[in-house]
């Protein structure tokens, strides 16, 4: 009986893992995952840091983090990044709507491929931002 139970638990946990895979991974190699507070700290410590909103433009009418630059992931490549980020050693932060969004992840990966060395990924995105009552803006 116990073995059957264990088997079932394992079975379901595998499936749960599968569903969870729709969420973004907790971290990406070579990319630093940050929270909303980290983001504020980074923004306040380095005014040259690039905050890239990886969402489509339409999303920005609902809420944006003030000071963020819109670069949807679909449009992200080494060239578009080069326009925003001054150097390859300049820090850059990507965010999108939230953990299920995936756009910021993709953009971060592209940035990584393009050779940017300091990449931050605000995994929680707008969802975490609003939840924590941080001020937002709209376009």
């Amino acid at each position: 009986m116990y073995k059957i139970f264990i088997t079932l638990v394992l079975f379901f946990s595998i499936h749960l893992t599968t569903f969870a895979s729709e969420e973004a991974p907790l971290s990406i190699h070579g990319v630093t995952t940050i929270s909303a507070e980290d983001l504020i700290t980074l923004l306040h410590s380095d005014k040259g840091i690039a905050l890239i909103d990886a969402r489509i433009k339409e999303d920005r009418k609902i809420a944006i983090i003030e000071g963020s630059i819109s670069l949807p992931n679909t449009e992200t490549d080494c060239n578009s990044l080069e326009n925003i980020i001054p150097t390859q050693s300049s820090p850059v932060i990507f965010y999108c709507n939230g953990v299920k969004c995936g756009r910021s992840l993709k953009s971060a990966k592209i940035a990584k491929q393009c050779g940017y060395q300091i990449i931050y990924w605000f995994r929680g995105g707008i969802e975490e931002w609003l939840k924590k009552d941080f001020p937002y803006s709209v376009e």
Binding site: E37, A63, I65, P135, Y136, V138
Partner: protein
Amino acid sequence: MKLFTLRFYLTFSLYFIAVIGVIFLVYSSSIYQDLAYKNKTEYVKSLTKNKIDDIFSQLDQELTHQVVNLMKEKPFQEAFANKDEKAMYAWLSELNKRYYVTAGIININSIYVLDKSFDILTQVQEENSSENNCLDIVEKVRSSLTHERYKSRHLICHDQEGPLSSIIYPYGGLWPKGYIIITGKVMHNLKELPYLINLPAQIHSVENKLLFQSNDWVENEHSPNDHYFTTLNYQDRNKLTLFKVTIALDNQELSEQIKQVQLKLISFSFIIIFILVFIAGWFQKRAINPLQSLAKGSQKITSGVYETIAENCIFPEIQTPINSFNVMVKDLKNEVAEREQIKQNLLEEKQFTLVTLASIIDAVISLSIDEKINYMNPKAEELIGKAFDECENASFSDVFKIYQDSSNNEQIPLHTIMDDDDLNYHQTIVYFYDQYNNRLELEMSISRMADNYSINMGYVIVFNDVTADRELKRQLSYEALHDSLTGLINRYEFERRALNLLESSFGNKNEHVLMFMDLDQFKVVNDTCGHLAGDELLKQLAALVQESIRSNDSWARLGGDEFGLLMGNCSLEPAIKQAKKVSNLIKNFRFNWDNKVFKIGISIGVVEFGMDGTSLSETLSHADSACYMSKNSGSDSIHVYTQDDEALQEQQGAMNWVSKIHAALDEDRFILYFQIIKPLNPDDKPHGEILIRYLNKNNDIIGPGAFLPAAERYNLSGQIDRWVVQQSFQWIEDHQNELDETVFGINLSGISLTDQVFLDFIVKKLKSSSKISQHICFEITETAIISNIQRAVHFITSLKSLGCHIALDDFGSGLSSFAYLKSFPVDFLKIDGIFIKNIDNSPDDVVIVRAMVNVAHGLGMKAIAEFVENIESISILKVLGVDYVQGYGIEKPKALSELLPPNP
């Protein structure tokens, strides 16, 4: 129902459970009621709180939205950048109005714009709005940490009209340039609460000021049972009460709901009770009833009623004992019936035994092992003259005093009788004195009663009163040895004593003498005077002789008129003297009877024995012979037996006549003789007498004197008579034609006269040849007639009627009673020879004969004289008138066959 029965307990438990169930249900229904109210209240409160939370949340979002939008507005941004308070105010006022009109969802109370250092740059407030505390929110931001400063904050504050929701928002994002505070009137939104919860509601301030009341609000006073109320204190995150919400709940609906549930519960409980009652009833029927039947059945058994139980129980625990009970009852029934039968049988047997015991003539007593009386039958009671009740459990020896010896007065203890041996049965003769002090001889039988294990249980004593028996026995033994008439010893004892003497004389050759004596003339006394006289005579003679003999001699009556005298250790000489003495005594004795005097004689035969080895039977035979000899020699004679006694030898030959007579009758060794009886008157018919002779083996003719006495003595004379009659009749019949009118006298003995068969034989013969009867004259002696006079008369008349003649023979030698002559229709009177033999020399005989002849003639008879031996006698007899003469003087007897001349 009886208390404390299984039924009681079962029913009680079931009802108890039912009652407990009902109580539980009632209790649970009341709990349910409470819970229902509580639940409902909690639910409503929770619902209300959620709804209010929603309202606040929605309001906050809207306010945030308004702030974000406001910050987007260019005019505002310009005014703020320029710190143009007036422009800001004008724009805010415009905005406020706009919102107030258009929003609908929110009702903004005031807007504050603050710079970085939280100083109010400008503020717009609703007209007539009261003072509020909404600026307290500034402190929340001011006091918060770095990151918190960038966050928007909410606060619920108050003014006099009610709660307000305020929000503070950093203007300029992460790098705030200032703050905007906007407050909205919550009441505007809270008015929707009654619709949201669908219940009438009131909202009060903390100070209990009514802020809002729904249109359908009800007052408790009007219908206290219809509604009930609950109040929710709405608090902020710091547990500070902001306002109070009172909700009216519909009591009826809930109580209806509760009632329905309670009804269901009650119905359910009734169903349970019904089920329990049904179960109880079912149990009662299925379990209790069979058990009760079982109990009743068991009770019935105790009162003797054996009934099986018809109940069937589905429970094997009950059915099994019922089945066992039924089997038991059947067995018991059979057993009881059997026992009843046995009891009945035993009772009958007991009754039978008691009746038997009561009926038997023996006294029966049963004793316990310690010799106490358990039972006595009526005979035993009679024996001691006490009832059983008086003697019950008394000691046997106290009640029954028994003695071993009639002379010894020492009582016998019972145990000594029984302990003599180990036998279970003991019989003894004891003596007992009854209540009248009569000494009884009792035959006492003691039986030990043993049970199945041979353990002694007591005794049964049977007393048989043998007093009379033993007396009788003594008497019988006396009578066995004695003659009852004379008291003398009898033949048996006489012979025993003789044998004793004979045996005692073996070796010493002692002499003894034995005598047989036979009375003469006794028969005359007996016949004429009756047996009484004869008996008396015998008694007197016995006593007479007894006196004359020696005391140690045995004087015995041997039978009839025969006596015996046994003289032990006595020689012949004194014995003969004694014999003579006896002879004389008797000769001189006169017997008187009925004025008649009789003279008696005695013949004595004497024999000496003991020295020559003769046996007793020989001695007795010798004595008999001697006596017989003596009798033949004449009255009063004594004959002593001697070995060479010729006469006795002859007589002894006669002793063997019995067998010879038998042989002679078989072999026709008898011969008929004839002697003429000569008529003195020529007119009379010729007459003769048929006589008999015996032809011995040497062809010697032997006269009747040799064998007729023996025949008479041994009862053979009848057979001889028959032979003679048969032969004579045959001869007469054969020669009838040659016989003229000759009459043949045939002698008949006394025995023949009484023999009816013989008479029938003669009658038959005579009838078959009727002519011969005139030739027949039966000669009968006077004594033969007298011995049985009635039969004799019958005999005579029978024969006379057939034409025979009858002659009275030997008249004068016996009784010679003229009286009898009258009764007999006799034709001839034959005068005895003793009167004729010497008639020529005896004048007395002449006188007697004359008298007899006269009598005969007088009675119409012819007189015949016998023993006529000479011519002188004939002439005298002729003168005397005698009709016929017979004797040697006339003619000697000759063979009958010689009577007629042989045919040529």
